[in-house]
Amino acid sequence: MRAGHLVRPRERGPALVPPAPSGRPGLLEVEGLTVSVSPPGERRRVDVVSNVSFNIMAGEAVGLVGESGSGKSLTLRAILGLLPAGATVKGGAVRFEGVDLLSGGKRSLQRVRGTGVTMIFQEPMTALNPVVRVGEQIVDAARRQLGWSRRESSEHALELARHMGIRDPDAVLSLYPHELSGGLRQRVMIAAALACQPRLVLCDEPTTALDVTIQAQIVALLARLRQESQMSLLYVTHDLAVVAQLCQRLQVMYAGSIVEKGSVAEIFASPRHPYTLGLIRATPDVHTVVDELTGIPGSAPHVGARPAGCAFHPRCSLATIECSSGEMPLRDLGNGRASACIHVDACQSAAEGLEAVR
């Protein structure tokens, strides 16, 4: 048997990839992406992802965090043209290796899916076909794309399964999804997603549905795969500890917009948006003093009820009258950082308490 198409390292580089020099185009470029839906029972369209822009470089892992309903999943699905019925792309551009995926039609999407970009879903139970054996599901797409024979496919399936840390793959691959444990199902889904060796994997909370020990295993698996193959990740999670473990850069979403981005280390050390600060304060793994743990007061706005001005201002302790009107674009803070808060300095001093406690 061949020495494993997955195992073959593309290029063994350092685990942490330094930020690419500016001017070089990213692997994935998202520009002004806006997605709209109709709120339940209403006919009007409202934007649930508004004007989202970011780049992902080759080999880079980028975290995307934000409260439930902030538009993370829709952003990921829009990139791959997989929006659910009722959600539509209103504007913006998505380019993968320079090829526009939004206006390029089904052809260009079809070419990129699997081999260029793929996606791992939150719920492996619903994301796997319930009536097809998992072994077939791992290779059914790759088989066509890469022209494998039947025998080659089953060899690749075994090899992929083994590579994902599935023990006794012969037996597992002939089972159906409902016959597997949650962790195994997630490994199967990752194997299927990686069968064509994609350059970028969009991960939509791939561990949320699993219990804690299995979560750690899956995160470790993804970290290992990334080091081996230099694939890029866009990793959606609620878990800042996982971001710290897996990602170099972080973007924080609130009510459909990115409100802060920058390197993980810098944001954790000194967030420049009150919402990020709140998230960090609410996370025990990052900010270890339990006494200091505080939730963010209030709750995120409902679809179509986005407050004017900064969407976060009704919940923000730093809010002033200026926060309640006007546009709040991301402002460049230099060194790859950006924030949508107009009180960056106040936020910085509020965050100093955070560092002091640490």
Binding site: R77, A85, R113, G114, A141, R144, M189, A193
Partner: protein, 312 residues
């Protein structure tokens, strides 16, 4: 496991058959009219009628007749036709293939009609194709099968004479050919229901996470449609198909008469007119068994299509 399941389901046939015989035997004797008299004609002498009744065993009290009937039944003897010079069982065996083939034609035909229509409708829900399919389906549901059959006869008998419009022919090829229009009639009456169910489950499947993930993996549209969409939609649709075919067993009575097919359905009508009790009983029994077998096959197909189903 499968064999035990089938065996147990087949055992269930026994009480069903028993119940049917009971219902049938007593209800048929409530029908007014004396078979011997109608067989011999109005001017037969009472002694001739009595002699014939005795020969046919009709002089016993009804409970005794029922007992004798059951006794013969367990020995595979459905009695002697009062009308034809033949045993009922022999008559039925000769007629059964026609009806069975007709049902198979109907089942296969309805799948051939429904899958493309449902796919067309489900690919763009609310689109022009979807609306057209729905309108055609609504019209189809409203049409009784004898009328559909008559329309097909007019169309294929007078306008485009391709298929025979009646009779069964002499050879196997002509048998198969002559069943096309009757089979189509059945298929047309089942299809609206099947299209509706397939469309709903296909839309659901195509909107599911597993289809989104299949697309994300780079699966081609045809693989997504067949191995993910239709494959999953078939699970729900097979039950709808089974229930409808089971239901249609009875409607072969109408269709075989419209197309003059020598099947069980047309024999049933004739035997009722002739007051040929043993034959009517025999056919009803066969129909009951057929319905139960169709449901059994449906359950088996369901279990084969969906590995989550446990046969117990």
């Amino acid at each position: 496991m499968l064999a035990r399941y089938v065996a147990r389901r087949l055992l269930l046939l026994v009480p069903v058959v028993f119940g049917v015989t009971l219902l049938l035997f007593f209800s048929i004797h409530l029908v007014p009219g004396d078979p011997a008299r109608s067989f011999l004609g109005d001017r037969a002498t009472p002694s001739a009628v009595a002699a014939l009744n005795k020969a046919w065993g009709l002089d016993h009290p009804i409970p005794v007749q029922y007992w004798l009937f059951l006794d013969r039944l367990v020995h595979g003897n459905l009695g002697q036709s009062l009308f034809y010079q033949s045993s009922t069982a022999g008559l039925l065996v000769g007629r059964l293939p026609v009806t069975l083939l007709l049902l198979v034609y109907g089942a296969v035909g309805s799948v051939i009609i429904s899958v493309p229509l449902a796919t067309l409708a489900a690919l763009h829900p609310g689109g022009a194709a979807d609306h057209s399919v729905r309108v055609v389906g609504t019209v189809g549901i409203g049409m009784p099968s004898f009328w559909v059959g008559t329309c097909l006869i007019i169309l294929f008998g007078l306008v485009v004479p391709v298929f025979p419009v009646g009779g069964y022919g002499e050879t196997w090829p002509s048998h198969l050919w002559s069943l096309v229009l009757p089979g189509l009639t059945i298929a047309i009456s089942v299809s609206p229901m099947l299209v509706r169910s397939l469309r709903t489950s296909l839309i659901e499947a195509l909107g599911s996470d597993y289809v989104a993930f299949a697309r994300a993996k780079g699966a081609s549209p045809s693989v997504v449609l067949t191995r993910y969409g239709l494959r999953n939609a078939a699970v729900a649709a097979v039950s709808v198909l089974g229930v409808n075919i089971g239901f249609l067993v009875g409607s072969t009575v109408v269709i075989e008469n419209v197309f003059a097919l020598p099947g069980l359905g047309s024999l049933m009508v004739q035997s009722i007119l002739d007051r040929d009790f043993p034959v009517v009983q025999g056919i009803t029994l066969v129909f009951a068994v057929l319905v139960v077998l169709v449901y059994l096959l449906t359950d088996l197909a369901y279990a084969v299509l969906d590995p989550r189903v446990r046969l117990t």
